[in-house]
Amino acid sequence: MAVIQIDGQPPFTLRGIFVPLPGGYLLGGLLLANLLVSAAFRYQLSARYAGIWITHGGLALMLISELVTDLTERESIMVINEGESVNYSKDFHLDEFVLIDESDPAKDHVLSIPIDLLEPDSDNPTDSPTLDLAQTDQRFPFMLVVRDFYKNTDFRSPVEGEKSFDVRKSNNSKVKIVPIRQQETFRADEMNFRSAVVELRAKDAPEKVLGEWLASSFFDIAEYRPQRFEHNEKSYRIEIRRKRYYYDFYVQLLDFRFLRYPGTDRPKDFSSDVQINAPGELTRKTRIYMNHPLSLEGNTFFQAGFDSVTEKQTRLQVVYNPGSILPYLGLSLVGLGLTVQFLYHLFTFASRRRKASS
């Protein structure tokens, strides 16, 4: 849709009057159409128009580059504690539902399902989506039935006789909690905690319900542990968490430093000394600091934040932007076009003066 309208969010109004706010696709599209139409009808194919052609071509390229960026760019955050090595970054907004097979001592096997698949159809809210997990990965011989889905959740202790879930806190104490449905929020400073109550059945005996579990992205940041279960002597973990992007390399944080201006808490510089461990390559150290990001395999890692209490944890924003060269091309074209136009005017002016004087 061309007008800015986020699903579920009330339309923008100013003192009760609905104001249609045009969005980027509409505006950018119109600008591009305008450029193309004027080029088609107004510009002539002559030397006089060379500069104009190039300049406006450059502008069109810049508009396209913004579209490419919008469609392909991915921003995520990598949180590393000092000494730790990390090979993934987390999305800022998107969640994923994961089932993790913990039985392999060497590494966990993860089955990731986009959160959208768990969401019941908006036309038919009572519908329970059913997924055959084994189709995706043979390691997980389950059928997954979503019994309940929460776009945003709060939790409280159960009143007597209420259906509740047993969750362990990080100190291993057991608590009973009940999920409460909350209104989805769209504020920049608030988070939505998506939760799902899922039922698993064994693939080979679909009538038998293995159990019902609660997973929530709230557990990802709060001091709760995800729910676990055992099946055929294998142990599994169920989680909803921020979508993770994995890389071929590990980034290890050697040291985070926060320099302040003397006598103040005003930052002068933040820097992270990191070591890159990539398979088949030499281990190398580098420093990421203000205005000096690290570029690695098409990703840019820049210093975005840190743990302000311990100052021993860095937060690197990872930007993956395959179209990053396009604005430079567009920019160069605009520069070239303006120069050509200027020189053309200069020369015609000079020749006219020469004619006039002779």
Binding site: P262, R266, P267, P293, F301, Y328
Partner: protein, 936 residues
Amino acid sequence: MSSEMRKERDDPGSGSKGRTLSRFIPVALVSICALYALSKLRPPSHDGDFDLTTFGQLPVQQKGRVKPLDTVARNALLVMRGKQTVPDGPEASYFEKLFYGKKSPRYLTAIEWFAELTLRPTKADKYKVFRIDHPEVLGLFGFEPGKAKYFSFNDLFHSTDIENLRKKQDKILKEVNDYVSDNPDASVKDKEEMRERLIPQYEDAQDKLDSLMAKVTQIERAIRSIKLGEDLNRNNQIDDGEDLNQNGKLDPGPDSKKYTPYQRNLGHLYDAVTLYDQLKNSLFPHAGVHLLGYSYSKEIEALSFHKEISDGAIEKLREELLASGALENESKLMEILSKKPKAMELIQADQSLKASKPFLRGQARFAPLGIVAPASYKGTVSIENGSDKLTADGEPLGEFLEGEDLNHNGQLDPEEDLNENGKLDQSHVKIGSYSPLDGIWRENQLREKLIKSVDGGATATLTNEHNGRDWIWDALFYLSFAGMAFLLFKVLKRKGSLAFSTSIALLLFATLSLTWIVLFGPTSATVSNGSLHHINWASLSGSLLESRADSGTGKIDPTLMSYAELSNSYQDGDHTKFNAVVKTLSEDFEKVAPSQWHDFKNRIPEHMFNGAQPFVTCMALYLIALILVFLSWLIWQEPMQKSAVGIACLALAFHVVGLVVRIWIQGRPPVTNLYSSAIFISLGAVAFGLIFERIYRNGIGTAAASIVGFLSLLVAHNLAMDGDTMEVLQAVLDTNFWLATHVVCITLGYVAMFVAGILGILYVLRGLLDSRFDKKTARSISSMIYGVTCFAVLLSFVGTMLGGIWADQSWGRFWGWDPKENGALLIVIWSAILLHARWGGLAKDRGIAALAIFGNVITAWSWFGTNLLQEGLHSYGFSDAGFIWLRGFIGIQLFFIAIAYVPKGLWRSELGSSLRRRQRENPVKASLSSENSSES
């Protein structure tokens, strides 16, 4: 009507006498203004015999920057009072002075007040330095709204009253003690009688004290409750970990808009009072009531024994007592102690100093001023360009390798690369040559690295011994500056006089060269900042902590003792001693600091700069020029116009000098914050306007110049209320390269937009109201708008794209649709719309003027509006007032656009009159043509 004829009519006394007069008036007016401006350069004199000038030049470190005390004093007064002076007594309004013969009180300069505050606070507590406007805040303190605006610390917190009551109680207690010790044999009855007499007095004082304290506590609680809800950290600064978003910009946060004006005003008052209280005890600890409910009496007591404590008298005493075995036997202990003079007090002082440790530690965290300079590192690390060598104490360190950084971290690491003597460990450093092509930038990067590398704690001082800097690069840059100046000269010469063109071209050359020298020249600021910039100075409490016998050096720093002596001699009125101590103190600082320490060297220029206040002078001159231009359109065209141009040129010269001095002091490109952007916009607009004046000579250029110049300086003047205008920069802005390119380009774009907008307003107003506004002048305005908008689109586009490249280099993305980025883009789009409307014939002169006026709205939004969106927490009050002003400004612009579309028939100028004439001749044809022309 030709302009010659009009001049005759304007000039009633035409003829030789009139001509002499019209020649004499501009000369006289400009001379008077020049004298006025020069008189402002005189350093301010101080009443009395105390050498407050030298006192004001003493260096301290505040908010990460070393500056003279004078700057601290002025900024503090601006934050508290909004002015740089304090009246000695009740102020009198003009009305009262005129009709009731009231006399103005004496006004203390900032440093005079600061001396009172820090050296003799009992008197300073009575100066009315806090400005309170909000009626509810006034009500909180029990003041009547509308009666007074300024209050003293005593008015707010009854510090003197509380002190007096405490003294009274002490006196009563002393009386009792004296009576008991003097009359050991007094009867029970006598004692009873005395108790009956004194106890009510004591309790009465206690009651009063309690009620005052309760009131003060209540107010404190009210103020604190507001502050506690905030997301600001201990130093009242923004916490970057939390409040900055991923672009390094301020995150508005959920509650920033929720503060009521009352809360904001109270918050501002809290900041002012805290600053006052902290500054009061920043040079010397004073007994008395403080906001924190603590008096420094213990420290004062301890300080008076500093000599004994430093000599280890305590340890000696302890050993002696141990040896004599007195510690086990109380009576024996008392006997020994009573024989030793001062021994008891000494022990008490030592103990109270120990007890105060947590307090001092807390104070050291909050201390506003570092007053003790760090001891200097003796060795030097230098870059020798000629040989491409880095040396430490004259020993070569190796060669730079192209594209490779100093060590694996990309930087010198103080912990790893400096050996135990604090010198560079050569084995860790790889150095190679760099090509002349990236010579200058590379060198600056290198210097930054060196500086960054040593400020982690090691105390190396960097000097830059320039033997054989690449002169060819300097030469190339100067040549290109000269080329630019020559081009400008050629352009101006076509229309203007030789003298004018030469001087403007020289001015351009001088400005560019000076900026070049200051920013990247041989005495580069980045290097010579050295350690003073990067190492903590000890604050009073910090130094006291260090001086403690049990954990620190056991010696009180001489700087502290000098300040103590200053305070004593100031209180005693002993100016000879005061002046001598100030002089020695100043010289001692010089000894500690090598001359190349940039901040340090600049404290004296900064002191002079503070006193001269060049931008205030400029503001006055621009206003005078503006009035003269307006007069020239009403009466006496030529002399008034000439005077206006002369005065505007004079102001421009002052402005340039002021800006260059600022750049020099700060060691940064001209625009680093909102304040400096306003100063720069003013300067740029005046330069544009005067160039137009030279080309068209019709007063329009000068009018535009002086309007934008004056208004923009007025904005700057109000922005200065927030405190230090040369503050250190946020981490992400700590790069001279992008500040010098991206920021300057964008700001010049603003300048061009504002000039175009003002020209548009002049077109509309004169066209509508001035019957002498002819078509030729109208066309000239239109050409000016066109020309300056071409500049605007170019500068804004280049600036915005440079910003995109900066963002891509820093954050991996070219464009983030951040409000400030969008603001810049709006300017590019709007000026492009204006140009295309003109090229495509969509808008004629009037339409162009209206479009240009709306450019003002766009530019003001981009300059301030986007900041207001993001600020909120950053500065109380400003966002409120800022929004009101911005709204007002936008409203006025819309009004001008509206009146631009008043039907041409009603225009009083030639633009409308020709239409009226035609209307008289042929009503039908005229109405058709009026429709055509109003389409534009």
